[in-house]
Symmetry: D2
Subunit: 345 residues, 4 copies
């Protein structure tokens, strides 16, 4: 039985962790912290858990957390960096859903997150938790930085192309559409129902915090710097990310090989499905699941390689991928607790 703790459990990644972990026989949720809600049953805040999980939020407490085998940080950025070192020192393994340990360059992190990093010495111990790239390193990791939602979709989509150097590295344009839940469960006018419903808009045009994360990873994959245009959009839906990924083929690319390339690359991946040629994905295909669906095609008239990638931002883009990492770290079946069929409608 794996003893799990969750720090900061009142957000959307928190309720998703609970949804995924609560039914498991091999994981026990020992503690879930929230300063604001300490003492309140989790089922009061998340009434889908009524009758499912009989536990209350508690004040963050190092003792209680250090009795866990693994602690998930489901917090905003700049929280995990304050207490992760202490928990690691006590032998707890950490899975951080926030951005604190995703960027290897401290200065870049501090630029984008606008606070000093309080634990830079751990950054290089952290493993970037994209299993399709880093599965072996995740196995032994003490600290996993779970990829962001946009990065997960964009990186999986470009992965086969950049690994093989099949596209021009300076031609990448990622036009990505995200559900509103990406903004979290924080009271804010911008994400009120009446503000977000029935509307579509770009945002973060001048720079989004996920850009340096995506660039770091794409650079790693391609082993040379890429140049990426990344334009996120807010779509009027609760869950889902749809990444429309454009690039120009390198000379070495045989357009007819694209489908086979993608199928081969992900043949053994339990959570990536390459759709048959000619089929396009939709975010609902993967709703409430850890699956990523990909489609790839070459547009002959404009000589563009087009990849379409969809994920559920709260599952594959956050809590599901966190659990996938946990499964790997603890030597479990990687798919344990994660094979719910997507809720199509």
């Amino acid at each position: 039985m794996i003893k799990a703790g969750i720090v900061g459990g009142t957000g959307y990644t928190g309720v998703e962790l609970l949804r995924l972990l609560a039914p498991r026989d091999d994981v026990s949720i020992e503690v879930i912290t929230s300063r604001e809600m300490a003492g309140t049953p989790v089922s009061t805040v998340f009434p889908n858990l009524f009758g499912v999980l009989d536990i209350a939020f508690s004040e963050p407490d190092a003792e209680a957390l250090s009795a866990c085998d693994v602690v998930f940080y489901a917090t905003p950025h700049a929280v995990a960096m304050k207490t992760a070192a202490d928990l690691l020192a006590r032998g707890v393994r950490i899975i951080d859903l926030s951005a604190d340990f995703r960027l290897r360059d401290v200065a870049t992190w501090e630029h984008w997150y606008n606070v000093p990093h309080e634990c830079p010495e751990l950054i290089h111990d952290a493993v970037y938790g994209l299993p399709e790239r880093n599965r072996e390193r995740i196995r032994d990791a003490r600290l996993v930085a779970v990829p962001g939602c946009y990065p997960t979709a964009v990186e999986l989509g470009y992965l086969p192309l950049l690994e093989k150097g099949l596209i021009q590295r300076d031609s990448l344009i990622a036009d990505v559409k995200s559900a509103v839940s990406g903004a979290g469960r924080k009271a804010a006018v911008r994400t009120l129902f009446c503000e977000a419903a029935e509307s579509m808009s770009a945002y973060g045009v001048d720079g989004h915090r996920h850009l340096p994360e995506i660039e770091q990873e794409l650079n790693d994959i391609s082993e040379e710097p890429v140049n990426l245009t990344f334009i996120p959009h807010l779509a009027p839906m609760v869950r889902g990310i749809h990444a429309t990924l454009y690039s120009r083929p390198a000379e070495s690319l045989d357009p007819d090989s694209l489908q086979a390339l993608f199928e081969a690359r992900f043949a053994d991946e339990p959570f990536v499905d390459v759709l048959p040629s000619g089929v396009v994905p939709a975010t609902r295909n993967v709703r409430a699941s850890n699956q990523c669906q990909l489609a790839v095609t070459h547009l002959p008239a404009s000589n563009i390689v087009l990849v379409l990638a969809v994920i559920d931002n709260l599952v594959r883009g956050a809590s599901g991928q966190a659990v996938q990492n946990m499964n790997i770290m603890f030597g479990l079946d990687e798919t344990a607790g994660l094979k719910q069929v997507p809720v199509l409608l």
Copy 2:
């Protein structure tokens, strides 16, 4: 291993049956029929099943179906009545999600469904599949008529009150709000996105097909005829039924006992949760799950007993309840394959 067949699998109850049954180790989906889609992989019609279920729709075929232990009819009304007798004769047990065997009075059925009933002799063999009332009879049933979505919510809500005769039987008003998926997956203008989105309306004011079903069951429960006003509404959402159930207390009712009455009645029911006093349910609390959430209160100023009941119309109101019936019929744990945590958002 239970061998299961599904007749008419291209609708919303079909995809939900597949979502619930496909991951199970103890059930094998042998055949799923659709005249129109015969030969097409189910994952083409329902792309959430890509990589989950590798089977194609087939022409309805009595031989193939009769090799099953159980056959689900996920068809419109007036289909099951044509072939159920034959399958039963071949030893197949039947779970009918349609209305064909719900009403015991043939004339009433023919009035509301406007076609002659082709198999009236089976009506009295059918067990009405509301486990909270008929669990023992379901166990041995050859033919189960799964309750409709509105009836499930309304009957569960009034059940404790009518069983004990605690409300005036002529005072029932059920104001019920349904998601659009209740109308099925049939091409129709009225349920187009642009027609149904962002709007609320009543319908069936002069009489809805679920009314005689609800009346039959409430009469049975109360052992005397009730008088019910039932006004269904279409709400702009994909899943969920919210029943707001009004009635006047009988003299015998102690209003302070209501909460305890409900809690006691459903204490052993795995799929009914009575919320704590003062807490109201929301349809999202039970999304994509088989759970029913109930709240009960007495309104002193107007002397009304108010019950609020929410279910997912596609799960508890159709496919989930069908699976629950199957579990009971085959001596399995009643909750097998049905304990997914609701998808709150």
Copy 3:
């Protein structure tokens, strides 16, 4: 040219007032106040006004407001009561969209709004701005209390029945469904997109602030006390109220006369449409307009008089009705600036 001021213009009733008033040739928006947004152009907060209205929010200022002919309070409750007397004394006419002057009984107001009323002496000067009842008094009013959104729908629906004493006054049940915009433009978790989308729930079951307002008015209409059960629900849509109004007929009611009764009562009303017999309304029918659509029928099986009423909560339930009151107060055509065709989809 009528010089108009708006106090508290950053909410949804504010933007609706601007939408309705900005295009008019006979009204000039002189000032729109917001402490928080003072100095910010209104089109920054409400980008639909870009190129339409070139004005900035300003600090509340008695001098600027007193130069207006009319001031609208588009504020939460307990704001207008602080400054209305001063403006009235300076000769400004006031249209208050908040609840401050709706209830004639101060103690009741203080009970429901939980603060002392700071201007009780004005309550009895205020005219309740439901034109269908109080048109003549509105004409000369110095201070109009615009009805709440729920009250507008419920009162219009019961009006013809209670005026003539045709229903049992103790049998009223109003099951009402409201769009999320009724909760205003305040940052709050409960009305976030991801909380309110795709869900339906009752709320305020133990008592909603609009209940005493509705009771006061229905009592007035019927000239004897009514007993009303009022259950509001939150529906996943931006605009609209759907009131489903139940009552038992009095002995004097001829059910066959209901349609004619309603048609006659509202024959001269520009903003109430009685739908043909057998037609039910939908909230989208009146979206973004000041129209109320009503349907009435008698349900013979349960002997219930059923009225269905729909309005746009932000227009007829707030800003549109406020403008209608202004038109009456200033001797204009009552429909001036209010005959936009509803935006069906």
Copy 4:
């Protein structure tokens, strides 16, 4: 008084034409045809028109239509081409909202629409009704082809850049998100509420009918062939198009001049608003209005010129632009009947 007829009025562009034209004093809707609905009042099909427009659908009839000054075709493609010549010969001016006369190359039209063109001789008489380019020619046009919804957004966005040759003509990528109403009011599974809600997907990746139209116009604007990648997406909303337009700057472009370029180009255009630098548009900003909002910026890190364009697909992308064309053709104020303030929420 302009006498107007509408052919094929039961779709979404039909109801929008009625919404815009019905309140006008200078336009009289003489006839609105629908074979299927002949004899039915328009307010039965479009209940927002109850009390607004007291007219019934009629069988298409050349006599009745030829008594009009102008006839709008609000039909699917391949209808107007059958009867337009006859009406023109009778002196009626025609505004075709369908695609029949948009493409100057008959073979291209027949390729994409997959039927023979029955009236190729009129194609070159038709004026493409984008007022920002063709205002003078529209004035005297007998036959106007109203631009498609996607083309309107994409062409307005690229217009200033291509007119001046400031971008590389082979670098255009238009990632465009459309509301569901773009698919029309035809019963179809794909656009059912439960299929389209809460999901995002690309479609028409291998080629969309609007592509040749956009290419024709962009080629015209730039006076040399462009190469365009056009990927349309279906977004879960009723109204709106959001075009995200990428291109590489030509050497001649001074990035700092972009904002001024756009502002100057559209300074006199009543229906195009260039947002201030740093502000991004949202589709809700222009809902139910004829406005187009544009933003332009240069992304220095990737050296991309980014244009964001939003319109309401049913108004500026169809019926509103049709009315704008009518205003121009009949010498009216171009904005007559079209200055409704957008319905932000």
